[in-house]
């Protein structure tokens, strides 16, 4: 019954999108974390999605394949008073791009909503199917 597989597909997409939202939240929260447990500034993280085809090809879910560290260069801020400043007075700050993260957040939440709608549609179709012959 392929309608049931829609629940798995949409469910996998919802969990992938919520993981993406989680990463966005941690990036935004650490946008100004100049140091961390390893002594370096926080590096932005990004999720990589991967399609997971099923055996019958009809349904393809999503999963988070890996969480990568953003390779873009770190932000250098001139602040000679800071204890973290180097000999030239620059502090290395996280490479979090707040605008990018906000766009990511909107995209993730819209995709999540889309999948909730998909799941609701599949549910009403299944309920309608149960009334056959009554």
């Amino acid at each position: 019954m392929s309608l049931f597989s829609i629940f798995n597909v949409s469910g996998s997409a919802m969990s992938a999108q919520s993981q993406r939202l989680n990463v966005v939240a941690s990036n935004l929260a650490n946008a100004d974390s100049a140091t961390s447990a390893n002594g370096e500034a926080y590096r932005a993280k990004q999720v990589v999605f991967e399609a997971t085809p099923s055996a019958n090809n009809a349904s393809t879910g999503v999963k988070v394949q890996q969480v990568i560290e953003d390779p873009s260069p770190m932000r250098q801020v001139y602040d000679p008073k800071s204890p973290l400043a180097d000999e030239n007075g620059y502090v290395t700050m996280p490479n979090v791009n707040v605008v990018d993260e906000m766009v990511n957040m909107l995209s993730a939440s819209r995709s999540y909503q889309n999948n909730v709608e998909t799941m609701n549609a599949a549910k009403s179709m299944l309920l309608k199917t149960l009334t056959i012959g009554q």
């Binding site: 090809n57 393809t60 995709s111 889309n114 549609a121 056959i132």
Partner: protein, 138 residues
């Protein structure tokens, strides 16, 4: 007798089955709207239903009785389990990440297909009602 009942309901049963398969394909497209390099897919409902009615779609595997027989190729990503070809949707607006899912098209098709499924359920219900009337003779 039962065979006749089966034949009577067969068309709508096949149509509902295909509709639910297509719904699941469309749901996969919506789920993968943000997956890099994912290509949106769909089935041609018209020809798929024709194939199912004529039973011409290739199913099952061929027996290999000699060492030099070719085995049936394993199903690749191009057909469904029942042999229906799974097609790629044409690209309207390309994306940098290689994804070809157009959310408006997918949502449109998803709603359309869902409605047609419910119409199919209504048809099969009225067929069953007709049969019940014939059986009870009231």
């Amino acid at each position: 007798m039962l065979g006749k009942l089966d034949n009577h309901l067969r068309f709508n049963e096949l149509a509902l089955n295909l509709r639910s398969t297509r719904q699941s394909v469309l749901a996969s497209n919506i789920a993968n709207a943000d997956t890099p390099n994912y290509k949106a897919r769909d089935i041609d409902f018209n020809s798929a239903l024709q194939n199912a009615l004529n039973n011409t779609a290739a199913t099952g595997t061929l027996a290999t009785t000699a060492a030099r027989h070719f085995p049936t190729p394993a199903p690749d990503g191009s057909t469904l389990a029942d042999g229906t070809p799974l097609l790629y949707r044409g690209i309207v607006q390309g994306a940098v990440d290689g994804n070809t899912v157009e959310m408006d098209v997918e949502r449109n098709q998803f709603a359309d297909n869902g409605l047609r499924y419910e119409a199919g359920v209504t048809f099969i219900n009225s067929q069953i009602k007709g049969l019940m009337t014939a059986i009870q003779g009231q």
